[in-house]
């Protein structure tokens, strides 16, 4: 279970997150929606301390951390319980697909090479890249690179995977293959927090939708509740802007 309590964050004077509270149950898929600049990326990055929150508490599984007082070791422990899939994939460019997935298994989890390799191969097969084990990222399409990124995240067996707009850097025709992979792992009961603008996907896969604006959680509920019967005016406005009329009324 993930628990975020009173997370706040400012860049200089600019307050980007204001006392965010969010709980995610094990196996739950939470989709975060919100207009550009509302703090979605910043929130995800606070969860694994890529951004240092000004205050608040983060709990992942049995590990709990006071953000303001986090030590180096706490940050490492937190990061070893989470994994992230980036908008720009961020694969290690000097490593093959297989080496990308193996890297943290060898270096962080200290698995023996044979075991790391075996696990990585089967994960790459699972995301449909069994024939690209030895390809460098420069030889892979965006969709393939992002699937390596997903395999790399899965390899760590994290308590939660954080996805930051995993398909928004992709050519439209490649979006489907990546969403399909994410959909499949969601079905396996892996806990995920997903920032996305793919409304169809959100409706499909999310157990819960969180709408953020101006650094606060404006509204949350099941996809049905948020999409069909939004309570807050800001949510309604956002949905009107982002979904074509026809879809909205369905």
């Amino acid at each position: 279970m993930i628990e975020l309590k009173n997370i706040s964050k400012s860049f200089w004077r600019h307050e980007v997150l204001r006392n965010i509270n969010l709980n995610v149950e094990t196996g739950e898929v939470v989709v975060i929606l919100g207009p550009s600049g509302s703090g979605k990326t910043t929130l995800l990055r606070c969860v694994n301390y890529l951004e240092k929150p000004a205050g608040g508490e983060i709990a992942v599984g049995d590990f709990r951390m006071d953000c303001a007082r986090a030590k180096r070791g706490d940050v490492l422990r937190l990061r070893r319980k989470t994994a992230m899939v980036f908008q720009q994939y961020n694969l290690f460019r000097h490593k093959t697909a297989l080496e990308n997935v193996m890297e943290a298994l060898l270096v962080v989890k200290k698995l023996p090479p044979k075991e790391a390799r075996g696990r990585s191969v089967s994960l790459l097969e699972k995301v449909g890249l069994g024939d690209k084990l030895d390809a460098y990222p420069s030889r892979l399409s965006g969709g393939q690179q992002q699937r390596v990124g997903i395999a790399r995240a899965l390899a760590l067996e994290p308590e939660v995977i954080l996805f930051d707009e995993p398909t928004s850097a992709l050519d439209p025709e490649l979006v489907g293959e990546v969403l399909e992979v994410i959909r499949n792992i969601a079905r396996e009961g892996i806990t995920m927090i997903v920032v996305t603008h793919e409304m169809g996907f959100a409706r499909d896969v999310a157990n819960r939708v969180v709408f953020m604006d101006g650094g606060v959680v404006v509204e949350e509920g099941t996809p049905d509740e948020v999409f069909q019967r939004p309570r807050e005016e800001r949510t309604k406005q956002f949905l009107r802007r982002i979904t074509p009329e026809a879809n909205y009324s369905i």
Partner: protein
């Protein structure tokens, strides 16, 4: 002035000059080693923004990049013993080579520091974040993700740096070191065939520079092979693309290349 030109002298001088090639290469190797160590020590506080050390490394860079190498040589040779005498170190009997390697080494260090910093910063930040997100320590991310890629990026700059150093060592003769240029001076004075000696000397520098450049280019290709697109495409577009990439990185090195 001097005797009339005779091409034969060029060939007879070549082996004589090559006798001292070892001395030149020793200066180059010693200075490179010193320079790379110094470069790391200077680059780290700049990359990690360590307050006081960062200011000190700024002073170091300004001095070694802003003054002529010849003056640096003289300052080390004549100044260092004076500076250390009050502290109880007697350097009056220390070999000249020590001062030469120290001066060239620290000089090279200034350029190496900028090379290291620029190459490390050229590795995209996202990969470092991916490494951190996976639970790697800063040291693991640096040594396993950043440095291997920075190495490939650094090679073109390194290539310029080594060749500039090689040419700069020709000033060591001013302190009486019998390296190639010093030897050429002596030969010229003895035989009065100055032009021939300098032609022979230029030939040797040229061949070494050319070889170094080719070897380092091959190293660069190998280190960056993960960025290679389809083989055929590489060949067709290699010139333009690689040229601009190398040129862009070599720009870091602007101002470097001449001795005095």
């Amino acid at each position: 002035m001097g005797a009339s030109f005779d091409i034969g002298y060029v060939f007879s001088f070549l082996p004589k000059l090559l006798d001292t090639l070892g001395v030149t290469l020793l200066i180059v190797a010693g200075s490179l080693l010193t320079g790379i160590v110094a470069g790391f020590l200077v680059a780290l506080p700049r990359m990690y923004k360590i307050p006081v050390l960062r200011a000190l490394s700024g002073v170091y860079l300004s001095f070694f990049r802003g003054t002529p190498i010849l003056i640096q040589l003289f300052l080390f040779y004549y100044g260092l013993p004076e500076l250390l005498k009050p502290l109880g170190f007697d350097l009056s009997r220390a070999p000249v080579m020590l001062f030469v390697i120290l001066a060239y080494g620290l000089h090279t260090g200034a350029y190496a520091a900028e090379m290291i910093r620029a190459s490390v910063e050229a590795v995209d930040r996202g990969q470092v974040e991916a490494a951190y997100a996976a639970g790697m320590t800063p040291y693991q991310a640096l040594s396993r993700i950043v440095l291997p890629q920075a190495l490939g990026i650094a090679v073109p700059v390194f290539s310029n740096l080594v060749i500039a150093l090689l040419k700069d060592t020709s000033l060591a003769f001013t302190l009486g070191v019998m390296e190639m240029t010093g030897k050429a001076q002596t030969l010229g004075t003895l035989t009065q065939h100055f032009v021939e000696t300098y032609i022979a000397l230029a030939l040797i520098y040229l061949v070494i520079s050319f070889t170094l450049e080719k070897v380092l280019l091959a190293a660069e290709r190998r280190l960056n092979r993960h960025e290679a697109r389809e083989e055929r495409v590489v060949r067709r577009f290699a010139l333009g693309k690689r040229g601009s990439y190398r040129a862009a990185l070599a720009d870091i090195e602007t101002g470097k290349g001449g001795g005095i």
